[in-house]
């Protein structure tokens, strides 16, 4: 017979165990616990429901075998990249969005967090908590579809306004009387501002809702820069600013989303043109580094005062000298650029001083598919 206090403490242990089991079962998200080798020790009712797994099918099984996973975009994920394996390797919690592959071959998108179970300072297993995000993804898809459609609808009348005002200004419908030229130019400028606003607002909506669709392929960074320079040459010519591109000796290939990359470059280069006085130069340089491609946009413009360096990527911020120079502007351009760079897993930074020009650097990883990789600086 056990002494009185030993019996009391074993009853206490049983109570604590029952309580922890009850807590585990009551977690509103799916939860699976494993031992230190990744064999499943517990699976809660929500996990059973999401995965269609019975406890007897799961318990004692090696987690990666009973529940294979793939990336969110349905491409395969190597075992070494699997969050639970990463967690065991690093000892740190890992959060990710993946798809679990179910018994019947279908898959379910989930947001998971896997953490170590530490007992007496020693890791004794893992707990993976997950949430079915099918509905969230559907809402994201609808949001992104709405944004895309709204962008189209807002721009359709604007395209007509812009095309016809330019045609009037260019004399397609007969010569203009001298006093008519300036007002027409005002209409064109206003239409351009409106266009920029639509772009910026749509980009912000996309960035903030995380609904930017990324489609990656291999591109030569020099070619992307060339395409953007072609787009902006007319603007640069009109302002009397020279665009100079220093090409790398060999192609600087990277796997990225060309449309987003070009938007980043177009924003930086047009900013450089906008804040560079006539006869100034904007120089674009591409450097091929080990894991990334670095693009530098250097201008001989008004520069950014040192005291506002930390605010330059903030939403709606415009440097005081920029406001003096150019009254039109939203203070959203660099905020958007930073969001787009982050979307491509890249980095952005700058060097500048007032009246001494600015250089903006963007570093994009050569392979933007791997989210863990950081760009070289």
């Amino acid at each position: 017979m056990l002494p009185h206090d030993a019996g009391h403490s074993s009853q206490k242990v049983a109570e604590v165990q029952a309580e922890s089991e009850a807590i585990f079962r009551s977690i509103g998200d799916g939860a699976i616990a494993t031992d230190e080798f990744g064999h499943i020790t517990r699976i809660n009712p929500m996990a059973q429901r999401i995965l269609g797994l019975k406890p007897k099918e799961a318990l004692g099984q090696w987690f990666p075998r009973i529940l294979p996973i793939m990336r969110e975009d349905k491409t395969p994920l190597a075992l070494i990249e699997r969050p639970i394996v990463q967690m065991f390797l690093t000892g740190k919690s890992v959060t990710a969005k993946v798809r679990y592959i179910l018994k019947d071959g279908s898959s379910v998108p989930v947001s998971i967090t896997v953490s170590p179970i530490i007992l007496n300072g020693r890791p004794v297993g893992a707990i993976e908590v997950f949430r079915d995000i099918t509905e969230e993804q559907e809402i994201d898809r609808m949001k992104s579809e709405f944004i895309s459609l709204a962008s189209h609808q807002l721009r359709t009348p604007l395209s007509t306004i812009k095309t016809y005002t330019h045609m009037l200004a260019d004399g397609y419908f007969g010569p203009l009387a001298a006093p008519q030229t300036a007002p027409l130019q005002t209409v064109i400028t206003a239409a351009n501002t409106m266009n920029e606003l639509i772009s910026v607002l749509l980009n912000i909506a996309r960035i903030e809702s995380g609904s930017i669709a990324i489609s990656t392929s291999e591109y030569d960074a020099a070619q992307l820069v060339t395409d953007v320079i072609k787009q902006l040459q007319i603007t640069a010519d009109a302002r009397g600013v020279r665009l100079r591109f220093i090409r790398p000796a060999a192609p600087a290939n990277l796997c990225t989303d060309s449309l987003i990359a070009k938007e980043i470059l177009a924003n930086l280069i047009s900013n450089a043109i906008k804040y560079t006085p006539t006869l100034g130069t904007v120089t674009i340089r591409v450097r091929d580094l080990q894991h990334s491609v670095r693009i530098a946009v250097h201008d001989t413009g008004i520069g950014i005062p040192r005291q506002v360096h930390d605010k330059i990527f903030a939403k709606f911020f415009r440097a005081p000298n920029a406001v003096r120079e150019e009254t039109v502007g939203t203070g959203l351009g660099l905020y958007v650029v930073q969001g787009l760079v982050t979307t491509l897993h890249g980095k952005i930074w700058f060097r500048s001083a007032e009246d001494a020009g600015s250089t903006f650097y963007v570093s994009l990883p050569k392979s933007s598919v791997s989210p863990g990789r950081t760009a070289d600086l």
Partner: protein
């Protein structure tokens, strides 16, 4: 000078592009949707197609699938759309288009420049 087919459902814009490209010396035909464009392209034999994406009856992507650029290797297609960074644009590139430009950013001068660039890359 080239033979250019404009496929654009907005009649005002369609008319404007015809004026601009005609003035630049090109021979121009026009269609208001993909289905009309398929019929027109047969006889007109364009060197370049200026193609909108969102159109009634048959949109730009459906047109590209039906027209099949692999069958018309000497024809260049420039997408002219207001859908920026959209999956449709990516799909259009996958179907073999040469360039994609945003209508609301494009003044007549830019339009002519793009057309010349694409034609020179022949």
């Amino acid at each position: 000078m080239a033979r250019i087919l404009i496929v654009e459902d907005d009649r005002d814009l369609n008319a404007a592009y015809q004026i601009i490209l005609n003035r630049a010396g090109h021979t121009v035909a026009s269609a208001l949707n993909g289905e009309q464009a398929l019929r027109t392209a047969k006889d007109f034999q364009p060197d370049l197609i200026l193609l909108d994406l969102l159109m009634p009856v048959m949109g730009g992507l459906a047109f590209l699938q039906a027209y099949d650029l692999d069958e018309h290797t000497d024809v260049k297609v420039v997408i002219f759309t207001n859908m920026e960074n959209s999956p449709e644009v990516t799909q259009a590139y996958n179907l073999g288009v040469t360039r994609c430009i945003i209508k609301s950013w494009t003044a007549p001068q830019n339009l002519m420049r793009v057309v010349d660039d694409v034609l020179q890359s022949h």
